[in-house]
């Protein structure tokens, strides 16, 4: 009896040792994992050259080490562009570019959680309003544009600044404008009074389509109304950035802006539409004006039901509506295996006229690259969106914005549904934002 178990144990041990040995040299799965482990080892060596002894390479790695690939995370629209410039980069530098598709909506959290675990990207594309949270988490590194600041718009650069440092290379600045149905409204109105007059003259289901009503709260698309009389969310100073203690939602100016919206709602110019309602009504030709951003250009170009144009946001009694400007940029991860190479990639392969134009063509949002803006502005539609980008304020990039979207969207939603008046809406929103920030 005893002997049999001894034999069995011996057989199992031998077999498993054999299998383990095979798996590390033959089987495909095992192969990739082990090489991955090896690369991590070899590359952490130079990364930790903090130790004062190593001016150059440690003596052990005499043969030139394999360069680790440059890992770029991008969403499905931008990834092909990065892939198209990858061969040129590999050709010039010997560094392979690995483009990983990551959904834009989950990018920020993925970077925050996977970066520290060593599974994150070297470079990724993200929105500017992540900069506060990512920098607070220590997930991103500043980059030095090396005197090339002049190639980008000031809004683009400022939006990606945090605590005085420049994080990321801006490449998109986008803001909402108004699409209008040229069959219903031949001449684009310049003021809100002209806009409502144009609607009075025609028979239409909805005059001005604004997302954020019905059942889908939306703070973003209401920003032009909030700002028309000087309302704001957080106080901003170009030197010190946003002041989260200075919440401007409950101010008379903000309430005045919300009251304008309330009047337009009660007078029947703005129906309670969520994002899809506003879009569908416009696409069916049942809406004269539709307030939204350049990301919908594609769906309008794909249809032939309505003839359309784009106009800037109307003025109200001489006041300008200032939409949110969204900036997107290329971030450099704080956990990049080789930050120097990643930076070279950004400065010499991404920040070029050709790549910036290709990125614009892949996803036609406004550009943050001045040469690209000049090229694309020959098209009046792009030029109109560019004007919106210049009149707007860039979205606050502080993490506290997380506490703003919900309450502001909720209260504008209630206002759009006629459940509360402008003053209550703005006071409620202001109080909720204050409490959530204080409590969080």
């Amino acid at each position: 009896m005893k002997r049999r178990y001894t034999i069995m144990a011996a057989v199992i041990l031998a077999f498993s040792l054999l299998a383990a040995a095979c798996s590390s040299s033959d089987s495909g799965d095992a192969e990739t994992t082990t090489t991955a482990a090896e690369t991590t080892e070899t590359t952490t060596a130079p990364a930790t050259t903090q130790a004062p002894t190593t001016t150059a390479a440690p003596a052990t790695t005499e043969a030139p080490a394999d360069l680790p690939p440059l890992v770029v995370w991008a969403d499905e629209k931008r990834a092909p562009v990065i892939e198209s410039i990858a061969p040129a980069f590999t050709e010039a530098t010997g560094v392979e570019v690995q483009v990983t598709l990551v959904d834009f909506g989950t990018m920020k959290d993925e970077v925050s959680t996977k970066g520290p675990a060593g599974e994150g990207p070297d470079v990724f594309i993200g929105a500017h309003d992540w900069v506060g949270e990512l920098a607070t988490n220590g997930s991103i590194s500043p980059i030095d544009l090396g005197g090339r600041e002049g190639e980008f718009t000031e809004t683009g650069l400022n939006a990606l600044k945090w605590d005085g440092a420049q994080y990321g290379l801006p490449y998109v600045t986008e803001a909402v404008a108004i699409y209008y149905n040229t069959d219903l409204v031949p001449e684009a109105p310049a003021t809100m009074a002209e806009l409502t007059a144009a609607c009075d003259a025609i028979e239409v289901d909805n005059c001005l389509g604004v997302p954020g009503g019905n059942d889908g709260g939306d703070a973003y698309h209401h920003q032009p109304f909030l700002t028309v009389d000087g309302g704001y969310i957080f106080g901003y100073d170009p030197g010190t950035g946003f002041d989260v203690e200075d919440i401007g939602l409950g101010t008379d100016e903000a309430i005045a802006g919300a009251s304008l919206l309330e009047t337009l709602v009660t007078d029947g110019y703005i129906a309670s539409t969520n994002y899809d309602d506003a879009k569908n009504l416009f696409m069916e030709g049942n809406e004269a004006f539709w307030l939204t951003g350049p990301w919908e250009l594609g769906s309008l170009e794909d249809q032939d039901t309505v003839n359309w144009g784009v106009m800037t946001l109307p003025t109200v009694d001489g006041n300008v509506m200032r939409p949110f400007v969204g900036v997107q940029g290329f971030y450099l991860s704080a956990f990049a295996q080789n930050a120097a190479i990643a930076e070279e990639f950004l400065l010499n392969f991404i920040a070029t006229d050709e790549t910036m134009l290709a990125l614009f063509e892949a996803d036609p949002r406004g550009s943050a690259h001045i040469a690209t803006i000049k090229t694309i502005s020959s098209d009046p539609i792009n030029a109109t969106f560019a004007i919106s980008g210049q009149t707007g304020q860039f979205m606050p990039n502080v993490p506290e914005m997380g506490a703003v979207w919900g309450p502001v969207g909720d209260n504008f939603l209630a206002l759009r549904n006629g459940d509360i008046d402008a003053e209550t809406a703005m006071t409620n929103a202001s109080e909720q934002v204050t409490t959530v920030i204080a409590e969080g």
Partner: protein, 542 residues
């Protein structure tokens, strides 16, 4: 099955090979785990594999052999997530505290202080080699816009300054090629070679000393004259960060609020910090912070009502249909059964979005169809998704559509398993129709179905998909202290709290609430199973 250990049959060898395979995989993964330094994972793996080997090799473990696969899956998919969640609930894992302590120290040590006054000339950087094969044998050529250049050896910022680092200085004549292919006997490196070198040399930490100050290397192609120094130095002995610019000492926070961050002696808390355990603080927050407690109660009540009504309505409809279908005079059973399964066959994720469109109060099919009725009655159209009460009704209705096929299937199966002779005996005794159903069929059904109803309750209690896709918790509760919706259930409320708290994410707090939900469900289930047991004692065992 006599293939126990006693004989050397096929079963024995199959078992042996499978075990050996398992051990091989385990051995191989444990090597990786050791290399990664994950001690806990390694220990867990070793203990687990030893246990499995023991169970399948030693005699007298027959009972364990049957249950071990179940135990393994339970451990991987139930126990480990719970342990991990409860661990997270004891930490301060949130925006600003996402890295390990080592990574945090690295972060602060990598902070370079640049004197804002001294930011100066920008240089282009070129790398030259003497081709001696010595990894140290490279030199840097820095050229500014005017063609002035510096050529010499760099050093790491952490090292002391080199006295005679600069080998050559001067100005290129205007016609000269920059960079020259050969300089002072050294060869210009190609970009590819520079990149190769960058895996061995930390370029971003290089400095060239000149008479007029340091030129800090910014990357692989640029340098700048600046006054730069490492701002924070970590003192391993004292476990403190020393701020060399403002001359202060920062030590790890002592009190719960600052645990996981360095706190400087002037009171400033350095963010980012690291993930640290903070005891029961998150649970304390749930219990004491009125901003969470108030919505928590409101959400909990609706959550309970929602789960209860979901089970009650789906079960009622499913049972009604099953009983109808069960009648012996029913024709076209196959057809009806197929039709009733349809909601079950469409992915809920899709059908919820479709329902959301149908219930759209302004443009949805339902309100467009009902428009003449509204006109006739002279009332406003029902706001299915944006009115607090109707939104709740809508949630229940959509869940009824999604859930009744499951109950229908269950009830059909259970009905068929009730022996017909019992009902025949009952009818002989005079109990027919409704009375027989109430007194005999239904109690017998409940014996079989009650545990499943409890499971359904637990599932609906955490039915995140439905709420998130249909209403996102909305419509908002107006005037609440913090944003909360009328149809928010605990799990969707927790999700919002985790992802949109005051400053970004708060995984620790969200995990604490998740654990509370878990214990709550555990309690409800335990209580209900007891009740079922009583049911079984009364009616079971026939």
């Amino acid at each position: 099955m006599a293939a126990s250990l006693g004989n050397w049959g096929t079963g024995f060898w199959v078992r042996l090979v499978l075990l050996a395979l398992l051990d091989a995989v385990a051995l191989w993964s444990s090597l990786i785990l050791i290399a990664d330094g994950s001690v806990i994972m390694f220990l867990g793996l070793v203990i687990g594999v030893l246990f499995i080997n023991w169970v399948y090799l030693w005699p007298r473990t027959e009972a364990l052999r049957w249950i071990t696969p179940g135990l393994v899956f339970m451990t991987i998919f139930v126990v480990i997530p719970i342990i991990y969640t409860s661990y997270v609930s004891l930490t301060n894992w949130r925006t600003g505290n996402v890295t390990s302590k080592e990574q945090t120290i690295d972060f602060w040590e990598a902070k370079v202080y640049v004197d804002p006054e001294a930011e100066g000339t920008l240089f282009d950087l070129f790398v030259y080699t003497d081709d001696s094969g010595d990894p140290d044998g490279f030199k840097l050529l820095l050229v500014n816009e005017e063609g002035q250049y510096v050529y010499g050896d760099p050093r790491l910022r952490t090292e002391t300054a080199i006295e005679d680092g600069v080998e050559d200085e001067g100005t290129f004549a205007s016609g000269e090629e920059i960079p020259p292919a050969e300089f002072n006997g050294s060869r210009l490196l190609t970009q590819r070679e520079v990149f190769q070198l960058s895996t061995q040399v930390d370029f971003k930490n290089l400095v060239v000393d000149t008479d007029s100050g340091e030129i800090v290397i910014l990357g692989l192609s640029q340098g700048r004259v600046v006054q730069a120094s490492q701002r924070y130095v970590y003192d391993e002995e004292a476990d403190t960060l020393i701020d060399t610019v403002e001359n202060r000492v920062c030590s790890p926070g002592e009190v719960t609020a600052t645990k996981g961050n360095f706190v400087c002696d002037d009171g400033e808390v350095l963010v980012p910090g690291w993930v640290a355990t903070i005891g029961l603080k998150n649970y304390n927050t749930v219990a004491t912070n009125p901003l969470i407690r108030e919505p928590f109660l409101r959400v909990f009540l609706w959550n309970f009502v929602f789960a209860f009504l979901s089970v009650a309505t789906t079960f009622a409809l499913g049972l009604l249909l099953a009983v109808t279908m069960h009648h012996y005079r029913m024709k076209g059973l196959r057809f009806y059964r197929s039709v009733f399964i349809i909601p079950y066959a469409i992915p809920a994720f899709l059908s919820i979005l479709v329902w959301r469109g149908l219930f759209n109060s302004s443009f949805g099919t339902i309100n467009r169809t009902l428009a003449p009725l509204y006109d006739l009655l002279g009332i406003d159209p029902i706001r299915w998704l944006s009115d607090p009460t109707w939104a709740k009704v809508t949630v229940i209705l959509v869940n009824l559509w999604l859930g009744f096929p499951y109950m229908f299937l269950l009830a059909t199966g259970a009905l068929q398993s009730i022996p017909s002779d019992i009902l025949e005996a009952a009818s002989v005794d005079g109990a027919t129709g409704g009375r027989a159903f109430r007194k005999i069929t239904f109690p017998l059904l409940m014996v079989a179905l009650a545990p499943l109803l409890i499971g359904s309750f637990a599932f609906n209690f955490n039915n995140f998909n439905l709420i998130f896709l249909l209403t996102q918790g909305g419509p908002p509760v107006l005037g609440a202290d913090i944003p909360v919706g009328h149809t928010d259930i605990l799990i969707s409320f927790t999700f919002n709290l985790a992802s949109n708290a005051g400053r970004g994410n708060n995984f620790g707090l969200a995990s604490a609430i998740t654990m509370l939900i878990f214990f709550l469900l555990l309690l409800i289930s335990a209580f209900s199973f007891r009740f079922t047991k009583r049911l079984e004692d009364t009616y079971g065992g026939s």
